[in-house]
Structures are given as structure tokens and as C-alpha cells.
Amino acid sequence: MIEIEVNGRTVEAEPGEMILHALQRAGVKVPTLCHIEDLAASGACRICVVEVEGRPGLVPSCAFPVAPGMKVRTHSQRAVAARQTIVELLLANHPDDCLYCIRNGNCRLQGLAEELGVRQRRYVGMKDEYKLDISSPSIVRDPSKCILCGRCVRVCEEVQAVGAIDFIGRGSQATVGTAFNEGLNVSSCVNCGQCIKACPTGALAEKTYIREVLAALQDPEMVVVAQHAPAVSVTLGELFGVAPGTDIDGVMVGALRQLGFDYVFDTSFTADLTIMEETSELIHRIQGGGALPMLTSCSPGWVKFIEEFYPEFLPNVSTCKSPQQMMGAVIKRFWAERMGIDPGRVFSVSIMPCTAKKFEAERPEMGEEGLADVDAVLTTRELAQVIRQRGLDMAAAQADTADTPFGERSTAGKIFGATGGVMEAAVRTAHYMLTGRELDDLAIPVLRGLEGRKEATVKIGPTEVGVAVVSGLGNARTLLDELRDGRRDLHFIEVMACPGGCISGGGQPIDVDLSAVRGRMQALYTLDAGGKMRTSHANASVLRLYEEFLGEPLGHKSHELLHTHYAAREEVVR
């Protein structure tokens, strides 16, 4: 360790690290804009400039290494004035429509302008006018609000290894766009929405379906059914001031009923159903010589990633639809009939931590005879927006439980929300299916945690199964390349497109730190530890669905409703 002086106080620093890191560790707040934790500094925005004694100019603290005895002043008049000027210049060509902006009240640029006391338009610049891109079913891009910080570009390329967007043009013409500046809809974008969470302004946002949902809720002809994903109940509270890591399942279900949803189901139920189907498929592949390793198919961003970049692995992808789509299918093609409701009158809404689910719901594979399995997808953020708009007081909301028959869930289905959850649930059920006994200890710690890749060899009876859990598509790409290079020791791989899994999905709250994501994960495992029903194969409602309708896992009905196939993508028409 070395010592530097910050604002007259001695601070310890690691040799070679950037000033910003030392400052953050010491609790000295310096504003940042383009900086992304754990990625190399780009030094693009200069908002983190500090004064270093003996240097003629200000230095960007994110990209300037510490040196022994260095004297740093973080909030000198000069440094603050420079930051003010930077924000004023950014505002000079920024649209002045904060009141209409989706990020109003939650915008980093707005926050900085307030923090730095920018109250005058000292620079009047030409406003850049770019085309609004609403073509994607998941993400809306408004490049005129872009401040060129590059965070979306870096997350897309360096974290997700997708590279759907990049800088286009030079100098004052520079903008962020897709290849050939076509719509995101026809690009290689996988709709994961991590760029939305990275964007400091309103240049990137989810495509909202709030109007569609409200229109259905107001239509007396429609039976409006909601399903909510495992990660949502452990996150939604944060948007109403509840501490991260609090599960508000009951209150959320109560709120959905108050909003007018006729029925509320829990996607964790179809997560259990997914486990029954997917585990059976895995056993079938291992015993019958199918394509291995089998890759999970619950994450629609991941599915499109394979379609776009690794189509040779499509035979390895489980044919199971995702829990969202399984729920959509059983609602319209089983439940509606049982209830004597015309499926055409059912409006099926899913509440997801995810933007790619919007794309998935729209896929042609996900429906029958022009009837979509899921009609509209709202993110966690959008649900919070609707709740606020309708004036519901979450603190006073009556807790309620989900409806039968798709409301009962095991905690194995619930932990789908965290990276490793699908694998853990699958191993529990695979052990039972192959040996007839439960695992001695249902918790499998090696599969838990936020690391981008976890691997294990799991002993199931006499069989040793190689498993890997990957989250973040950059990590998935690395593993796929290993498989392509001949790696053969793995049987089953869980991939979640978003780093950390659904708890950190593209539809989750913006501008939170990792501790909130950890809290959400902890909440899921706490539910599991205290759960009465901890395995998918113990879910009585799932077993009843098989008895009364589906027959058996991988049976004829299951194939019709719960399975699908994906194909390599070719774009002909734009």
C-alpha cells in the first residue's frame, strides 16, 4: 500500500490503481458519468476531474494512477468549475424536455445539473436531431438525448459481448447507433436491456406496454390475467422505499388485484413446470444420446444470442419454452377452457424483470392460430409506474395470495430469479427422478453467488453430471468458445443473459449498486431456506396439471404446449 493525500487527509491506495478507486474506498465522493465499475476506464466524460498538485491541468481521476505522496484536491474551485462547465456543455445540445422524459427524476445528467447548481444556459448550442427508434419490441432509442458517455456501447460489447451498438460518425457528428444505422429491431441486439440500466439519461428506455394493459383492464369484455416472475417480488419494494432484499409478494399481488387484474398467477409455478420438463429432457438426452451439453432456454436474451451468434449450438438448447411462455400457453389453452372463457377474451399480462421477455412474447413460435400466449409484458419498473399512477399506497396495501391453479409454487421455482437457481432446482429434481430419493441437503452452495461462472460435478446416484452456471453473455461466449474448441466434460449449462440473473435484469430498477442485487438474491435464498415445499416435483398443483391435462413430462400435450424450436436468424426484409 502507498499513501496519498486527499483534501488534506491521508488515504491509503494500491500501487497502480486509479485515483477514483482510492477515493471511492476512502468514502470521498467524486461524481462520475461514463465510469463503469469493473471495466477499464474510458475517461470519456471528464466529470470526475480532480486537481493534482504539481500537474498543470486537471486529471480524470478514473483514468489517472496514484503515486506515492500525491496530493489530490477533489472539490477545489477549479475542479468544481470544470465539472459545471462539462454539464453546461452537455446540456447545450440536450433536448429541454425533462418534464416529458421517462427518466425525469431519475436522470444522472439532471442530477448532476442540480448537484452542481447549474441554473443558467450559458452555452446555447445547436440541438442534435436524431430519429427516434421505436422499432424494437423491447427497447426504445432516442439518440437526441444521448450524451455520448459510451456506457451502453461498453456494456453491450464488453459485458454482453453482443456489440449491437457502437459509435458512428466523427466529431460533432458522432452518435451511437446500430450497424448501418438501421433500427434496433433488425440488428443483432438481443433485447437484454442492460444498456437501459447503463444509460445515464433517457436515450435508452424500455418499450412500454402500459397503455395496452390499461386499455385491457378498462375493457369489460376482457378477462385480464397477470403472472409475475420470481425476481419481481423481491425487487419491487425498492421502488417504493423498502430496503433491498425485502420480499413483498403478498402486497404486490394485492396491488395487482386493486389495479383490476381478474386473476393473478405466479410464474414460479411454471418455473416448476419447466423443471419437470427440462430435467426429464436432460435425463432423456443423457440416457438416449441427445445433444449435450444441454443449454437452458429460459432467458430470451440468451436464446436470441445463440440464434444470432452460435446457431451451431441450437440443437443443444432445451426445447422447453421459458416459464413466462409456459404460463401463457397453459392460461390460454388449458385454464381458459376449464373456466369456460373464450381464449380470445383473455388478455395475458406478464410482469417481468426483463426487457427481452417483450420480444419473446412477440415471437411467432409463442402462440397458435394467431393467438399469442402472452399479450403484453411489463417490466418491474413499468409495474411501479402503473402503481404510482393509480395512487395505490403500497404501505397500506392488503396482502393477498395468487390464484389457483397456477399460484402454488415451490421455492425451487422461486430461486429461478437468481443465477444458478434453475440449475439448483434442476439438480434437486434430477436426483429425485433418477434415484427416487431427495438430496440429503437441498441447498447447493457451489451454484450460488454472483460470480459470472460457476462449475461443479454433481453426483446423482451413480451418475456424475458436469454442470456450469453462467450469467452475462460475455461469460456465455467464453464458455461456448470452449465447447466449440472441444470441451466435453459438461452435461448441463444454465445461462442467464443478464449478469447475476433475472434479479439484475434489464427491466429492474435503474441506478442501484451491487448490494441491492445481493439483497434480492439473499431474499430468494431466505425464502428457499424457510420454504415448506422446496422441490418442483413436490408441487401438488404441477402434478395435478399432469394428471388432469398434460399426461407426463415430454408427453404429447407437453410437446404441443410447452416446447418449441429455435432457428438461426436471417434478415431479408428491413
Binding site: 421505436i134 429491431n185 426484409v573
Partner: protein, 130 residues
Amino acid sequence: MADFTGKSILLVDDDVDLLTGLVFQLKRLGFDTVTAETQRDGERLIDETTPDIAVFDLMLEHLDAGFTLCHRMKRKHPGTPVILLTGVTAETGLEFDTVTADERSWVKADAMLAKPIRFEQLQREIERLL
């Protein structure tokens, strides 16, 4: 693959590349295609043909051409589904929709798709409406 052999589709769009691509794909689905590149020709075809479904661009020689074509279509062939395929939001920042009854009361289209589309989106709407 869905089979629409024997069905006809009317397409009006001034983007000839798009039109060519759509015709290629729609023929693969079995459709007979009738195309026009202007509002004027589109109106003539509405009067002279009886398509099973129609797809209109919005901004042609008049900026609201697609709306006019939809109205004319619904007047001449009330039961025939119409899809508006438009880049109007990218061009103007204005957003139109067919979500509420109020919107559908004047935008006489059964669906709207924002350009650029993936063909599967159009196919899905056609399957839904036919």
C-alpha cells in the same frame, strides 16, 4: 409454415426495396400480391380489386396518405383487415397507435407496425387477422 394460397394481399409503399422484399416473402407464404407505390395508385387498386388483407405505408406523396387509404379501404371493403406499416415516429417524433377504441375510431387500421420490421412480425399480424 402458414399457407395462404389463394389469398391476395394489397401492398402500398413508396420504398421499392421494401416492397420487393415483402412481395418475395409473401409469395413464399402463397399470397397473390398487388402493389402500388403511391396513394393515388393505391386508391385505384382499392376500388378495382378485392384483396383479403392490405398493408399500407403511412407517408407517401401526402404525409397522411396511409390514414386516407385505411379509411377508403374500410369504406369499400369493411371486413378486410388493414395493417399500417410506418416509420412515422422515426421521421416526425409523432406516435400513433391502435391500442384504444378512441384511437381505432379514427385510425382505421387493425394493427400498426413500426419500421424497420422483421418479416416474422408482419406474418404474425397477418395470421392473427386472417
